[in-house]
């Protein structure tokens, strides 16, 4: 028969062993995981700028080859820091935690945001990291703008736990290639963002079609999340974009 004392001792020891085991594993594996996350981030930035053949093995070297400048901007659109020399993954911009900065913004506090400049074929591309909320968890991505700060060169999206086959389809080429060539400002220089709409751009008035893409059937909430994410993030960068256009 098991006494109460035995049960308590058993539970206590079991919990301690499990905790020790898990924290050791987490500590030992953390460097590998962080490296993977950094590489993934670089891969996303490069892919959005249409750099070909990016994969996990060459992302870091390509990132250092193509990214010429990392800019940190504040809420007024002023450049706080520009990092051009040295290893690009050590730049301040690369280390900024978007989640924290966006929280500061929602609280009305000053915030800083990263911007990456890629030079390819003599042209400068500006890459804005995105972050927002999908159906089940965070979604994020990158948007590459050409040097007119208006036309989109490419985008990438990623997500934590959107439904496979539905919301998770935002990562596919079929969805992301719709963004190429779309514009975020209209002819009157008003900020229009990019609208993710059911039925595609044809459903919009003719003069707005250049700002619209088709949503994914069955992934409505995720697509609304993408729509809001692009709007919110571009809104945060708006002072900088307008100063430099």
């Amino acid at each position: 028969m098991y006494t109460n004392g035995y049960i308590f001792r058993y539970a206590a020891i079991m919990v301690i062993i499990a905790a020790a085991l898990l924290s050791t594993a987490a500590m030992l594996l953390k460097p590998f995981q962080e490296r993977n996350i950094a590489i993934d981030k670089m891969g996303g930035i490069l892919t959005s700028a249409k750099i070909p053949d990016v994969d996990a093995s060459n992302a870091m070297s390509l990132f250092n080859k193509y990214v010429k400048e990392e800019i940190v901007i504040n809420e007024n659109g002023d450049v706080v820091e520009s990092y051009t020399d040295g290893r690009m993954e050590d730049g301040k911009a690369f280390k900024i935690d978007m989640k924290k900065e966006l929280y500061k913004k929602s609280q009305g506090e000053p915030y800083e945001l990263p911007l990456y400049v890629i030079e390819e074929g003599g042209k400068k591309l500006y890459i804005i990291p995105l972050r927002g909320i999908g159906l089940w968890g965070p979604i994020w991505g990158n948007m590459a703008l050409s040097d007119d700060f208006n036309s989109i060169i490419g985008v990438t999206f990623a997500h934590k736990g959107e439904t496979p086959g539905l919301g998770a389809e935002i990562t596919t080429d079929i969805f992301t290639k719709q963004f190429i060539g779309k514009k975020i400002f209209n002819d009157q220089n008003e900020f229009m963002s990019i609208m993710v709409v059911k039925g595609g751009a044809e459903k919009l008035p003719e003069n707005q079609r250049i700002h619209g893409v088709d949503a994914i059937t069955g992934g409505t909430i995720t697509c609304n999340g993408v729509n809001d994410m692009i709007k919110d993030i571009l809104d945060s960068y708006l002072p900088y974009l307008q100063k430099n256009r």
Binding site: A11, F32, A56, K160
Partner: protein
């Protein structure tokens, strides 16, 4: 330890092999015991997550069956469910961490589903029904068997759902463009959960047709 077992009965004696074979067909966790349906619906829209989840379940199930079986004589019956949960949860977290460290792309695809292995009723069911009262080696085989039985159904369902729902297999297009030109369309319903249930139903039907033992004798 294995030498000791060998004296009594060989490692892969017919009795032990039965532990692997029965759950694949005669007492399949999904189609016969109707356990683990929730994850069978959730992850089978694409083939790749289904395969990786099956492998992860095999690892978690075999490992936690062995651990619980080793501990079985010391576990106080009154808190046995809690002990089983701690074992399963620890294993799942370990698998998740390892996936994140070494196969990041796959772990990104699986996202929350690895964590959901914890809630897979098959695992707890086998710990409670088998590992608590059997030696580690049979418990290991039982774990592998049941996880395979689960995984096979998952992969079959995912195969049909991805093929008919997206026209791809492992994200490679298999239905030629010509079909689409003739008006063939991917069936969007296949990627929604209800069709997973219907697919599982069809599998049960086919299985019962070929395995007469499963048919109830009024």
């Amino acid at each position: 330890m294995s030498a000791e077992v060998k004296e009594k009965e060989p490692l892969f004696s017919p009795k032990n092999l039965k532990l692997i074979k029965t759950p694949i067909n005669l007492s399949n966790p999904i189609t016969v015991q109707v356990l683990g349906i929730c994850s069978a619906l959730a992850v089978t829209a694409k083939l790749m997550p289904a395969i990786v989840l099956s492998i992860s379940v095999v690892v978690v199930m075999a490992a936690s069956n062995v651990v619980v079986s080793l501990l079985r004589n010391g576990i106080p019956p009154r808190i046995r469910i809690i002990v089983q949960l701690v074992v399963i949860a620890s294993m799942v977290i370990l698998v998740d961490q390892v996936l994140k460290a070494f196969v990041y792309d796959v772990s990104k695809q699986l996202s929350v589903f690895v964590g959901l292995i914890i809630t897979n009723c098959i695992i707890m069911g086998r710990l409670e029904a088998f590992a608590m009262s059997n030696k580690p080696w049979p418990a290991f085989l039982d774990g592998i068997g049941n996880a395979l039985g689960y995984g096979i159904i998952l992969i079959i369902v995912a195969f049909f759902r991805e093929l008919l729902g997206s026209g791809t297999l492992l994200d490679i297009q298999v239905i030629p463009d010509g079909f689409y030109e003739f008006g063939y369309k991917n069936n969007g319903l296949m990627i929604l959960p209800p069709m997973a249930l219907i697919t599982v139903g069809v599998i049960i039907w086919v299985q019962r047709f070929y395995t007469r033992d499963l048919i109830e004798k009024n």
